[in-house]
Amino acid sequence: MEIGLHHFLTVGAILFGLGLFAMITRRNAILVLMGIELILNSANINLVAFSKFGGLGVDGQMITIFVIILAVAEAAVALGIVLNLYNNFETVDVDEANLMKD
């Protein structure tokens, strides 16, 4: 069977579902970040697949580059916040950081 657009989009959809699951269930802040990276990767697969099969040229790949750049910036800032959270709360459990709750 010829490998077409659907195959790549299916892989992207499965990675998206797994990333969503990690973001919902995991309480460790770094694992939540890994879920976000999985979701961004699935979006990148979709963009590059449409760039090849949709006749878009390299425009889809340019957007992928900017997604990767923003993922780097997001990961750096989020890990800084996680380290600060650990300094203040002695944990990286995102449910424990509830000082503003009541």
Partner: protein
Amino acid sequence: MIYYTILFYVFAVLAVATAFYVVFAKNVIHSAFALFGTLFAVAGLFVLLNADFIAITQIMVYVGGILVLMIFGVMLTTKIADIDIHTKNLNRIPAILFSTGITVILIFILFTTKWNIKPQVQNQETVSQIGKLMLTTYLLPFEIASIVLLVALVGSAMYARKTK
């Protein structure tokens, strides 16, 4: 063409299997190392999609940058010697229902939609095209991205500093 099919299935199965391990592993370090496999397999998929520059960028930035940063984060925020670095999951059943529901809906939509597929040009190298586009059409986003990276660098260094 048969090699293309075999390679696609190898990379796709590798990506999905290691992503499952990332999500379901009990140990945070095991999740981080399984994410290596996922990112490498996605880079392989990018190669199969004629996106050589994106594949190299994926390996250099994600595997060389983000993942090493995450492993640093795991090691800095857990005392590996005394307390366990296992993590717990909450709301398992509703989360499984929700995320599989969304995945099934996505796959259903992408198989029922009539995509406008154009015949693609084979084996065109992309690096020179991306370089030209980055300095002409996408010049403004390129410059803004550099400022975003600088601000993120300074901001995260400031956040991560110990204030006490």
